[in-house]
Structures are given as structure tokens and as C-alpha cells.
């Protein structure tokens, strides 16, 4: 076939494709990816708002009927076609390559703003020691928007940099790139093997401490008291499916990429159940910790839990600093909470960046180190130019809202339609999953991915389209959301089409003897009815 790569001194890969050295490390890294900021700051409030204890029912239904089946779809494609998202999809079907590049670009957008939030959390870890926000007359809210972010009154994109954010962001990128350069085993696996146990221990201490605060029981009571009327509200079910979808980080290339580093005889479904339930276990723990702390906050303010309950940036950077100021051993709560955000965020950022690095590694046929630098440095520079500024918060808010809905969600919908009804690949992928897995999949999985999946994702997407078109997001100017929201989401699709049209050179991984060997082994293991046909 092609000559071995010895041409022109380019940094071409002669190294073998990396694999996670053990199942444990894959599972740990996949959990590290799934457990992110959303588990800590989003789940508790979503559950509280959508039926409290009763939310458990739609939540479990969503995990079993959508989350885990979609996770298995990602695993099967990544593992069978052993490539980054664009290459794996291309090997499945030439026309599907564009979906992979769409996911790569989605990951690029998420990576550039995600690093900013990790940097804020790192600074707040430090601020917790002296409770720096107490210097502001308007309390934690005034400090965050004013003294810390120095948010401009004009919704715009400016280059008025804030040193206190730029510096920690720089270090977030430095750490991330150093980990990525070291590769799957020495970098990603090791980072997860250190950060994940640390995150769990820190978070457990935080939860125990929170539960013993005065008023904590009221918070837990508010969190777990079921509102059964919520179960008849379709919006509650949509919230459960939406939350699980984002929480498990399915359908945006991460799990395709990670599963491509698994050994051939891996127990894919058995590992997937562990990852999915570990992710939910952490969320439940976060719900207990966060609502116990909010119960204390309400107790201290003489108000109800309902008045203080919030999520996202408001929870982390306004409510929690207030709790840190008022609680006994508050500084410890602060360091543990913000430290947890940093570790949960870093392990997710690594997985997001890996989608991009792996894609370029395959496309260019380069070795790990040059490919990581060629991807990581420009991504870091763009992130450092756009977000540590007085207008960074606006950009982050709009990009986050639009890339989630019209990037991830839209791409997932197209993905399930293409692989389900379009290419009819689900039977082949189910057989692939069943070959070495402990939990076998039957017709149910195909129905869930090919039928329930598109229906649930389509319903969510239509809802989002209606709400985002009804009024300008966050009250920002129409031009701002037009460019950085709608325009950005559209540009990702155009960019993906352009990238998929660039031909794969002979140095790329498109013709890879190692993959041919993998494929031959898989085919030899397969039952005769599938083997021999189109792979």
C-alpha cells in the first residue's frame, strides 16, 4: 500500500495508536470527563425546580432511556472505528465525516470559555482564605461583577484585559497543555488518577461539613420533598432528558475519542453503566452538599430556601461566597468547594481538548507532541484574547447558551438520525457492543437510540428554537446574539463542511495498517452474517 512514513522530516507518527493501559483508567477518565461544573452547580437546582424528590423518576427514566443508550452509541462508533470523531465517522460512512468536524468545532468553542470559569474558581479558592469579597460594600455580588470581573456596562467584545483573570487562565491552559502533551497514558490517565480521587475526597468533606451547618436540614427537606404534580408537566420531563444529555457529555465527540483508546476486547456496556451511575452518584452528592449549604444561608438570612436557591454562576460566585463568610470554618468550605470546581472542570477541559487534538493528529498523521502544540497553543491564545476581559462574561454567556443548544443538541439529533434511520447502522453497532460486553443489548437499545432519541432531542431543540427566537437571549443586543450566538452556531456547520472537504493526505491516518489489523481481528471475531460485508 503506501510507503512507510519517512518523508521530508515532518513530525509524522510512527508511534502506535495509544490505548488506556487498563479499564480502570478508561473508566476514571470517562467519569472525569462526565463530572464537570454542571454536576455541581446545575443538577441541584434543576432537581429542586422540577419536582424535588419526585424528579428522581423522570431523571432515572432519562438515564436509562436516553443517557446510557446514547453513551453506548458513542462507545460503539469510537471503539469499532478506532479514530477521532471525524475519522471514526468517516470510516463508518464517508458522508458522516462532517459530523465529526462539527463536534470538533463545538469542542473548540466550549474549550475557550470553559477555561475562564476554571480560572475564576481557582481565584475564588484563594479569595476564600481571606474572604476578599467582604471588602465590597455590595457583598459577594458586587465583588464578583465589579471588583473581580470588572464587567463593562456595554455588551460588546472589547480587549480591556483584567489581569486577575488573565493570569490564572494562562496557568489553566499551561497545565492543560502539559497534561495533553504527555499523551493518553502518561497525561490524561495520570491526571485523572490524581484529580478524581482528590475531587471525591474534597467533595465528601464539603458535604459532611455542610450537612452539620444550622439550617442544613431545611435545605435538604426542600431538595427532597416531592412535588408529584410536576410529573404530569412535560417541561419537567424535558428538563430531565436535557440535564442527563449534557451531564453525561454524550454526542459531542468526547466519548467517541476516549473509547477509541480502549482495547479491542473491552467490556463496553459494563464500563458504561459504571460511568453513568458514577456521574449520577456525584450529582446526588452535590445536591445534598449544595442544598445543605443553601439551607444554612436561608437560616442565616431569616428567609426561605426558595429565596436563596439558584444555580450556575450565581450559585458558585455569589451564593457560595456569602455562605463562606457566614459559616463556621467558612474558609475551609470555600477552598473545598472552589477546589472541587477546579478539579471537576480541569478533567472535563482535558477531554474536550482531546477531541480536537485527536482529530488533528489523525488528519495530519502527526505525533502526539507536535499535534498537541499545534492545536493547544492557538486554542489557548484565542481563549486568552477573548475571555479575560471586561466583556468576557457576555461573550461566555451567549456562546455557552447557543453552542449547547444549536451545537451539541442539534448535532446529536442529526447524529442519531444519520446512524439510525439514515445509515441503518444500529444493528451492526449493537452486535459490536455485544461482542465482548457483560451486559448484552437487544432490540430495546435500537428503539431507544433510533426512535426515542430523535424524538426527545427533536422536542428539546424545537423548544429551544422557539424560546431563543421569541426574545433576544439575556436581553443582549440583537446584533451581539446574532453574531456570537446564531452566527457562531451557523459558522460551526459551515466550518465543519469546509474541513470535511479537505482531502486526507497519504500521511494521515486514513490508510493505517494498524487499523487494518484491528479491523481484521474484529471481523474474525464477528458472526459470519456481518463479517465480510462493508465494515
Amino acid at each position: 500500500m503506501s510507503t512507510p512514513s519517512s518523508s521530508q522530516g515532518a513530525p509524522l507518527a510512527t508511534e502506535k495508536r495509544e490505548t488506556f493501559s487498563s479499564r480502570k483508567l478508561f473508566i476514571l477518565s470517562a467519569i472525569g470527563s462526565a463530572v464537570g461544573l454542571g454536576n455541581i452547580w446545575r443538577f441541584p437546582y434543576v432537581a429542586y425546580e422540577n419536582g424535588g424528590g419526585a424528579f428522581l423518576i423522570p431523571y432515572l427514566v432519562a438515564i436509562l432511556c436516553a443517557g446510557i443508550p446514547l453513551l453506548f452509541l458513542d462507545y460503539s462508533i469510537g471503539h469499532r472505528y478506532r479514530g477521532s470523531a471525524p475519522l471514526a465517522y468517516r470510516r463508518a460512512n464517508r458522508k458522516a465525516e462532517v459530523l465529526g468536524w462539527w463536534q470538533v468545532l463545538i469542542c473548540f468553542i466550549i474549550a475557550i470559555y470553559y477555561a475562564a470559569i476554571i480560572a475564576w474558581a481557582a481565584m475564588y479558592c484563594w479569595f476564600s482564605i481571606t474572604k476578599t469579597w467582604e471588602t465590597n460594600a455590595d457583598g459577594a455580588a458586587g465583588f464578583f461583577m465589579g471588583d473581580f470581573l470588572k464587567v463593562s456596562d456595554n455588551v460588546n467584545v472589547g480587549f480591556d484585559f483584567v489581569g486577575n483573570i488573565f493570569i490564572p487562565m494562562f496557568f489553566v491552559w499551561l497545565v492543560t497543555i502539559v497534561i495533553m502533551v504527555a499523551g493518553v497514558n502518561k497525561g490524561i490517565s495520570r491526571a485523572n488518577a490524581v484529580f478524581m480521587p482528590l475531587l471525591i475526597v474534597m467533595f465528601l468533606i464539603l458535604v459532611v461539613q455542610s450537612v452539620f451547618l444550622p439550617g442544613a436540614i431545611d435545605g435538604l427537606s426542600a431538595f427532597f420533598t416531592p412535588d408529584f404534580a410536576a410529573l404530569s408537566n412535560p417541561a419537567v420531563w424535558a428538563a430531565a432528558f436535557g440535564h442527563i444529555f449534557f451531564s453525561l457529555s454524550v454526542a459531542f465527540g468526547i466519548m467517541v475519542t476516549y473509547s477509541s483508546y480502549m482495547k479491542r476486547k473491552s467490556d463496553l456496556t459494563g464500563s458504561g453503566y459504571v460511568v453513568a451511575f458514577a456521574n449520577s452518584s456525584f450529582e446526588l452528592l452535590a445536591g445534598i452538599g449544595v442544598f445543605a449549604a443553601l439551607g444554612f444561608m436561608a437560616y442565616n438570612a431569616g428567609s426561605s430556601v426558595d429565596e436563596v436557591a439558584t444555580s450556575g454562576i450565581g450559585l458558585a460566585f455569589i451564593a457560595f461566597p456569602t455562605i463562606v463568610s457566614e459559616a463556621p470554618l467558612g474558609s475551609l468550605i470555600g477552598v473545598l468547594f472552589f477546589g472541587s470546581l477546579v478539579f471537576a472542570g480541569l478533567t472535563s477541559l482535558i477531554s474536550i481538548l482531546e477531541v480536537i487534538v485527536a482529530a488533528f493528529q489523525d488528519k495530519l498523521g502527526w505525533k502526539r507532541v507536535p499535534a498537541t502544540l499545534v492545536v493547544g497553543i492557538p486554542v489557548a491564545v484565542i481563549s486568552l484574547v477573548l475571555f479575560p476581559t471586561t466583556t468576557g462574561l457576555y461573550l461566555l454567556d451567549t456562546m455557552d447558551a447557543f453552542v449547547n443548544q444549536f451545537g451539541i443538541l442539534a448535532c446529536a439529533l442529526v447524529l442519531v438520525i444519520v446512524f439510525g434511520a439514515g445509515l441503518g447502522m444500529l444493528p451492526k453497532l449493537a452486535k459490536h457492543l455485544n461482542r465482548h460486553s457483560s451486559i448484552k443489548l437487544g432490540t430495546g437499545w435500537k428503539v431507544l437510540v433510533g426512535g426515542i432519541g430523535p424524538a426527545a432531542l427533536g422536542y428539546m431543540l424545537i423548544n429551544e428554537l422557539q424560546s431563543k427566537m421569541a426574545e433576544s437571549y439575556s436581553g443582549y443586543p440583537v446584533w451581539f446574539n446574532g453574531i456570537f450566538g446564531w452566527g457562531m452556531a451557523g459558522a460551526l456547520i459551515v466550518g465543519a463542511i469546509v474541513l470535511s472537504l479537505i482531502p486526507w493526505s497519504k500521511n494521515s491516518k486514513i490508510d493505517d495498517p494498524e487499523f487494518d489489523q484491528h479491523r481484521a481481528n474484529v471481523e474474525a471475531e464477528e458472526v459470519p452474517e456481518v463479517a465480510g460485508k462493508e465494515y
Binding site: 500500500m1 503506501s2 510507503t3 512507510p4 487498563s22 479499564r23 424535588g52 424528590g53 419526585a54 428522581l56 432515572l60 436540614i217 431545611d218 435538604l220 427537606s221 427532597f224 420533598t225 416531592p226 482495547k263 479491542r264 476486547k265 473491552s266 467490556d267 459494563g270 464500563s271 453503566y273 459504571v274 453513568a276 451511575f277 458514577a278 449520577s280 452518584s281 446526588l284 465482548h436 457483560s438 451486559i439 495498517p513 487494518d516 489489523q517 481484521a520 481481528n521 474474525a524 471475531e525
Partner: protein, 47 residues
């Protein structure tokens, strides 16, 4: 904390943390298999 809240707290913990425990037990009962080539690798220098 009301009785119903306590009941739902316990049910949530049992299903979610229990689900993790069951998943881990299932995995531990199926040890990792070693990859070996089913068919002979093709000529190493390409063919």
C-alpha cells in the same frame, strides 16, 4: 425534615448509589480480557 422527604432521600440514595454499586459488582465479575491477534498481522512494512 418531613417523613416524605426522608423517604425520597433514601430512595434516591438507594437507586443511584445502589446502581453504582451494582454496576461495579457486575464489572468486577467480568475481568478484563487480554487483546490478542485473532489473525496473523499483515506484512509489517505494508504490502
Amino acid at each position: 425534615m418531613s417523613a416524605i422527604a426522608i423517604v425520597f432521600m433514601i430512595i434516591s440514595m438507594l437507586t443511584i448509589w445502589g446502581g453504582l454499586a451494582v454496576s461495579l459488582i457486575n464489572l468486577s465479575r467480568h475481568p478484563e480480557k487480554q487483546d490478542d491477534d485473532v489473525i496473523e498481522p499483515a506484512g509489517s512494512a505494508g504490502n
